[in-house]
């Protein structure tokens, strides 16, 4: 017979649950570190402060600080108000917060502020990457113009799919058909966005134009087989000949 009985899954799970949230209190303020992480690995922190009436729940400026460490503080200040609104909280120039929170609403307020803070920093990181997307787009336009001539090229072309109106990075209009081009950087959000557009266009059936996903890095692009079912794949640095065949 074993001297020590193995610990039950419940005990282990309770220990894990306790470790998921970290709490420090001082005076009338408590700081919670929650099981969400910013890019870079820091847990998302939320402060609860006791006010005369209710509580102030805020990120204490943590999200803006994290965005600043990415070099994206200005972008964060543009992005954060909309994200805060989506989560039902507010943003001033420093903090994401909810004010006059009654005690029985603290859990939902903490969750809202923490998720808004994390999402705002993540969207800032994606925005910083998409600034460079603009460089790729200029390159794509140059390559398409070289292959098909300036009159065939439409930049930032809007096209109505089966359900919605979408903007594509470029389109080439040849005498008998149209081809839509969309740049895809190697992250899941970019692939999902491109697949959504391409699927909606494909749903037009025989009237659907050709579709080309222009990949900035084929090796590291996720969900490539899914993308390949909705559009032809072309590497952004493909040869002029490949560009000419694409449309």
């Amino acid at each position: 017979m074993a001297l020590f009985a193995p610990r039950s899954i419940m005990i282990i799970a309770e220990e894990v649950a306790r470790a998921l949230v970290h709490c420090i209190t001082s005076n009338e303020t408590a700081h919670l570190s929650l099981p969400l992480v910013y890019p870079g690995g820091s847990m998302v922190g939320v402060e609860i402060s006791k006010l005369r009436d209710g509580f102030l729940v805020s990120d204490a400026g943590g999200a803006r600080r994290e965005a600043g460490l990415l070099g994206g503080e200005r972008a964060f200040k543009r992005i954060a108000p909309e994200i805060a609104e989506r989560f039902g909280v507010r943003f001033d120039h420093n903090m994401i917060f909810d004010l006059d929170v009654p005690e029985n609403d603290l859990v939902s307020a903490v969750i809202a502020v923490a998720n808004a803070a994390k999402t705002a920093v993540e969207n800032t990181a994606v925005h910083l990457a998409s600034i460079e997307h603009a460089d790729y787009r200029a390159h794509l336009w140059e390559r398409l113009e070289r292959a098909y001539g300036p009159r065939a090229l439409a930049k930032k072309h809007k096209f109505k799919g089966s359900s919605d109106l979408w903007e594509f990075d470029a389109a080439i209009r040849l005498p008998d058909h149209l081809t839509l081009f969309e740049l895809v950087v190697p992250n899941a959000n970019a692939v999902n966005s491109a697949v959504t557009k391409f699927l909606d266009v494909r749903d037009l059936g025989n009237a659907a134009p050709k579709r080309v996903a222009v990949l900035t890095n084929i090796k590291t692009t996720p969900h490539l087989p899914v993308l390949g079912r909705t559009a032809r794949i072309l590497a952004v640095d493909a040869s002029d000949d490949d560009y000419r065949k694409a449309a």
């Binding site: 890019p39 690995g41 847990m43 001033d92 004010l99 006059d100 990181a125 890095n217």
Partner: protein
């Protein structure tokens, strides 16, 4: 056309390792900016008018030079502190120019309020000795993060791998000594601390 995006594609630029591990000095005598005055008191419970001077930051940025004090083009040190919270979440970043912005290639976080979580992928790249969670001072070293490839330096990566700092840090000067050792910047510990204020 200039090709910009390779900075987060392909291999890590060779010169980054030289910058991270080479001996460096800093140029001039950088000064902290002055602390912005607290806002005039408003009714703190009016919705949407919360006072936020507690979340004001101060940053000191200084260009770096090699050990012979020849300036390193596009290499800088940034120190970030809270204006009204002394010795709380004090960060140093070693940054190189890349694309349209500066890219952080190493970071020291002292007195963090929130723990750092190392990604599970560390186990696959020979860094399984690093803890999954660090609750205290830590350093995001260039060499550790370089094992993840260039994506670790992209904005959405932001140096996800960190190691504990074993030294006890009691003062801003202790922090500067650690940064000086980690980033190999001579004389850094002589910088003045910011003129921290405490909100009453």
């Amino acid at each position: 056309m200039a090709w910009k995006l390779e900075v987060f594609d392909g291999p890590i630029p060779d010169h980054w390792e030289g910058i991270a591990h080479g001996k460096k000095t800093f140029l001039g005598w950088p000064q902290w900016p002055s602390i912005p005055p607290p806002p005039a008191r408003k009714n703190p419970t009016s919705y949407g008018t919360v006072q936020t001077s507690a979340a004001e930051k101060l940053e000191l940025v200084t260009p770096l030079a090699d050990e012979n004090e020849v300036g390193l083009e596009g290499v800088r040190l940034r120190l970030t502190v809270w204006a009204y919270k002394p010795l709380r979440e004090v960060t140093a970043t070693l940054e190189v120019e890349g694309g349209r912005n500066f890219i952080t290639i190493a970071r020291v976080d002292a007195w963090p309020v929130d723990p750092h979580i190392n990604p599970v992928t560390r186990r696959k790249i020979g860094l399984s000795a690093l803890p999954s969670k660090i609750d205290g001072h830590h350093v995001h070293r260039f060499g550790d993060n370089a094992k993840l490839g260039i994506s670790a330096f992209a904005p959405y990566g932001n140096l996800p791998i960190a190691a504990s700092i074993p030294d006890a840090l009691h003062s801003f000067r202790d922090f500067l000594r650690t940064v000086s050792k980690e980033f190999r910047i001579k004389g850094l510990e002589q910088l003045d601390p910011p003129d921290w204020q405490v909100l009453i």
